[in-house]
């Protein structure tokens, strides 16, 4: 039987606790009780994402995630969806650079069904995987790519910035959606090999959160998952480490049919899980989070040169994180004017740092975001898995907010000074063209896309 230890409620965890267990086959389990609502969340993180993909097979982790919903030994066709929804549950799966997650939120009395379903596909997916579902889901994913990226203005910006910010050959150089060419090239045998390599109990963390009886829940987990064999075929991902700064300004200008000029940039930031990453989060919030941020006040309110201006943080554990600047220009404003204003604000911030009031605001915003994340059983289950998979300790999820509140203004200034610099960013500029106007640029752009696909 599994062994475990019980955590006590820690300061700042809002009274939440979690216990950890490990099955003999290596499956790590995290349980957290909360009886306020008769629901339970099941979340399963597999330690595999697009960073584990190889050249020529980008998008495979995500395509595979779709195949996980196409049936397994005891579950026919779309049975996974049908059974969960028919039980009054909700479910989905997502794929990122660093992991693939699957989750069900169930009415309490249907929890056992969700565990049975997850175990069935972890242990026996290949019994059901066939050409028909492979071909079908390949088409579905290609339409997902068109809908979310290719057929919307600026839709490929993130993909382009990522490709600029992480060099050729780096595991994060391509995004999880993958290229059309690679999606076309993936074979059934690739999918089978991907499953055999990555979908093992010892490469996963299972969390169950909510209105549960921990002993009974552990019993079910042992019963359904306990006999799935572990294996160690997985290769570690390629090394994602990079120098702290890029050392030069990388730049791409896109001429495309978009409604307005845009300035976007990706800054290289500290890895997730470090104090410096939390400091960077606060810096980006002061500079570009919400309606009282420095960039919003400068560009949208005062200069009135932008429709919207903000910063986002993509936290990454296996490679430098990414600070994403996004400014859409107003009317006929030119990009250099925006860029000069952004640089001026960042330079000033690097010298002065945040004011006490800005720190208070940024910390209050991030605190509320954490309360939101931990306020649902599904959000809590996902965070417990995240900290278990990426940092080896699910308890860190319950104290994450205290670490953000512990960061000082000087640390925020220091990370901004070190990282939010012109020579540490990849810049993407959009210049609009009309549909029947600048054909030459449009063609050039299409070529870039194909080159992107070959990389």
């Amino acid at each position: 039987m599994p062994m475990g230890h019980t955590a006590t409620a820690q300061a700042g965890s809002g009274g939440l606790t979690a216990t950890e267990h490990r099955l003999a086959n290596g499956l790590r389990v995290v349980l957290s009780e909360d009886h306020l609502t008769p629901v339970a969340a099941v979340c399963l993180w597999y330690d595999v994402g697009s960073r584990h993909e190889v050249k020529g097979r980008t998008g495979l982790a995500h395509l595979f995630e779709h195949l996980m919903f196409q049936g397994s030994a005891q579950v026919k066709g779309n049975g996974h969806f049908e059974l969960v929804q028919g039980a009054g549950g909700s479910l989905n799966g997502t794929t990122s650079f660093e992991r693939t997650n699957y989750f069900e939120t169930m009415p309490t009395h249907q929890l056992e069904l969700a565990l049975w379903l997850e175990a069935d596909r972890m242990g026996s997916l290949l019994a059901a995987l066939d050409d028909e579902s492979m071909e079908n889901q390949r088409d579905v994913v290609k339409n997902e790519r068109r809908q979310r990226y290719d057929n919307v203005p600026y839709g490929t910006a993130f993909e382009r910035l990522t490709a600029l910010a992480y060099p050729e050959g780096h595991p994060y150089h391509h995004t999880p959606i993958g290229s059309m060419a690679d999606l076309d090239a993936a074979t059934l045998e690739d999918a089978r090999a991907f499953f055999r390599t990555n979908y093992a109990p010892n490469n996963a963390v299972l969390s169950v959160v909510g209105d549960i009886d921990p002993e009974q829940t552990l019993g079910w987990i042992e019963k359904y998952f306990g006999s799935i064999p572990s294996h160690d075929g997985k290769q570690p991902p390629r090394d994602g480490s990079l120098p702290d700064t890029i050392g030069e300004q990388l730049r791409e200008e896109v001429h495309e049919e978009v409604p307005a000029r845009a300035l976007m940039a990706a800054y290289r930031l500290p890895h997730d899980g470090t104090r410096e990453c939390d400091a960077a989060d606060l810096a980006l919030t002061v500079l570009g989070g919400g309606e009282s941020s420095r960039l919003h006040n400068r560009l949208v309110r005062r200069d009135r040169t932008a429709v919207a201006a903000g910063f986002g943080l993509l936290r990454l554990a296996g490679a430098p994180s990414l600070g994403w600047l996004d400014v859409k220009t107003s009317g006929g404003v030119e990009v250099p004017e925006i860029e000069a204003a952004v640089d001026e604000e960042l330079a000033r911030f690097a010298v002065e740092g945040p004011t006490a009031e800005e720190m208070e605001r940024a910390q209050a915003q991030l605190e509320r975001e954490w309360l939101d994340r931990l306020g649902t059983v599904a959000g809590r289950a996902d965070e417990l898995c995240r900290f278990a998979v990426l940092f080896g300790d699910p308890q860190l999820a319950l104290t994450a907010v205290t670490r953000v509140l512990d960061v000082t203004a000087e640390e925020v200034r220091a990370v901004a000074a070190a990282r939010l610099r012109p020579d540490n960013r990849a810049v993407l500029v959009y210049e609009p063209v009309t549909a029947d106007g600048d054909d030459a640029s449009a063609d050039e752009d299409e070529t870039d896309e194909h080159e992107g696909a070959d990389q």
């Binding site: 309490t108 009395h109 019994a127 088409d139 809908q147 359904y224 919400g290 949208v300 309110r301």
Partner: protein
């Protein structure tokens, strides 16, 4: 088939345990001395409190030629008061860890505040200040107008936003506010100024016709005292409820293509109007619409996605546009938008629409199965405790009920009504909601490639528009 299938111990599928009772929360209804209606609901454990304010400032109250003024007013609420400049107001709100969103729609203006309970009094104070004494400074309104004008091209470029705009234009008579974009057009927005915004505010915003919904963990909060010090200080006169004009639409079957040369996908939006929540058919319509296109395993996606791979997903839905009270002089005259939306790759546009119509014809000819109906009921009823886990989701539904003149226990009773709805009723409602010859189809895509195959389907006259 293979290796992995035989290496684990299989167990029969488990059966459900005993369901634990859950009911949609019943709010406590009251009023402040200034006439503001208050609905409150304690949700233990929900540390982020949600507040929704309904203002009786519907889009059809906007002055002629000033479409978008309700939107500008809604946005201007967070751009300064008699005590705080625009920048200070935004800063103070964020210092509370709060978010404040406001938007104008056909039934009225909605303001949504979310804030950790520890800072609720302060955030409610700011919200009250915004409602009681908005600055509507010339320069801030001018900036909001310019910002709104800048947003319009972004919306036009977005295929799903563009499709929605075209469908409204097609369905509703030109004289109806519903035929025109909710947030106005370039022509109307550029005419909006601070004086106009203030006049609209003075005519339509007052506590006596407003409602506040407050949901969250209110343990240890003296809400009466907090309300008296905040929203209680807002004053205003009284006003008769505005009459709600009836909603009519031309759903003659036809196709409009919004031309997007070179588009790799076609955005589909197929719609008409139908019953709102006051109609007895609502539960059956919810059930039937779910069976048709509520999820990945519903009829539309079973064919279009899981069999053919034409799309990432197609959904059918019913969304209330506006309702009136059954006690109003004209009776209940509201309507919902009933629609099917999704996107398909350009080459599959004709075949996908052909299949979609075939799904509708089969539904009309053969009806739903009992098994389909059962699964739908189990899902729609079963997910309620999940769906209403957060304070924000409860507050939003309570505010919708207020806005649509429904009793406070509407959602609570809906679950029992869904469970009582049979297969025959659900089939009839779905077929009536989506009759094959009374659907307006908007396609945002490459006309040169899709017009011919779509015309060949015979689902209605095809016209092409640009812009």
């Amino acid at each position: 088939m293979t290796d992995a299938a035989v290496t684990m111990d299989f167990h029969p599928r488990p059966t459900a345990g005993e369901a634990r009772p859950w009911a949609f929360p019943a709010p406590e209804r009251g009023a402040l001395d200034n006439g503001l209606t208050v609905l409150r609901c304690d949700r233990p454990g929900q540390q982020v409190v949600a507040v929704e304010i309904n203002l009786d400032a519907p889009l059809d109250a906007e002055p002629e030629g000033l479409d978008g003024i309700a939107t500008i007013m809604a946005r201007a609420f967070s751009e300064g008061t008699d005590k705080h400049s625009a920048e200070e107001f935004a800063a103070e709100l964020e210092r509370c860890g709060a978010t404040l969103d406001a938007h104008a729609d056909h039934p009225g203006v909605r303001i949504s505040l979310e804030v950790p309970v520890s800072r609720l009094p302060k955030a409610l104070g700011l919200l009250a200040e915004a409602l009681r004494a908005p600055a509507f400074a010339d320069s801030e309104v001018e900036r909001l107008v310019r910002n709104r004008l800048d947003e319009i091209p972004h919306e036009t470029a977005n295929p799903s936003r563009r499709a929605a705009k075209q469908l409204s234009k097609e369905l509703f008579p030109a004289s109806s506010r519903m035929s025109r974009p909710r947030q106005g057009t370039e022509e109307t927005v550029e005419r909006i100024d601070a004086a106009g915004v203030r006049a609209f505010y003075e005519a339509h915003v007052r506590p006596a016709t407003a409602t506040a919904v407050i949901v969250g963990d209110l343990t240890g909060v003296d809400l009466d005292e907090v309300l008296a010090d905040t929203l209680g200080t807002w004053t205003g006169d009284t006003a008769a409820p505005r009459p709600v004009p009836p909603v009519t639409a031309d759903d003659t079957g036809r196709v409009v293509i919004v031309d997007r040369p070179g588009a790799v996908q076609t955005q589909l939006l197929i719609g008409r109007i139908g019953a709102d929540r006051h109609d007895r058919v609502w539960p059956a319509q919810v059930l039937g619409t779910y069976c048709l296109g509520g999820t990945l395993t519903s009829r539309l996606d079973r064919v279009l996605r899981e069999e053919k791979g034409y799309t990432y997903g197609v959904r059918a839905f019913g969304q209330v546009l506006r309702s009136s009270s059954p006690d109003a002089p004209g009776g209940a005259t509201g309507a919902a938008m009933l629609a099917i939306s999704g996107s398909v790759d350009t080459a599959s546009t004709g075949p996908a629409l052909d299949d979609l119509w075939q799904v509708l014809r089969t539904l009309a000819a053969e009806g739903l199965t009992d098994a389909e109906r059962d699964v739908a009921v189990q899902n729609l009823v079963g997910v309620a405790p999940l769906k209403y886990e957060t304070a924000a989701s409860v507050a939003s539904t309570l505010a919708d009920q207020v806005e649509q003149f429904l009793p406070d226990d509407f959602q609570a009773r809906l679950y029992a009504r869904l469970a009582e709805t049979g297969t025959v009723e659900a089939t009839a409602a779905a077929v009536n909601a989506f009759p094959v010859d009374r659907l307006v189809t908007v396609l945002v895509g490459d006309a040169a490639q899709i017009k011919e195959p779509v015309t060949a389907l015979g689902i209605g006259e095809v016209t092409v528009v640009t812009g």
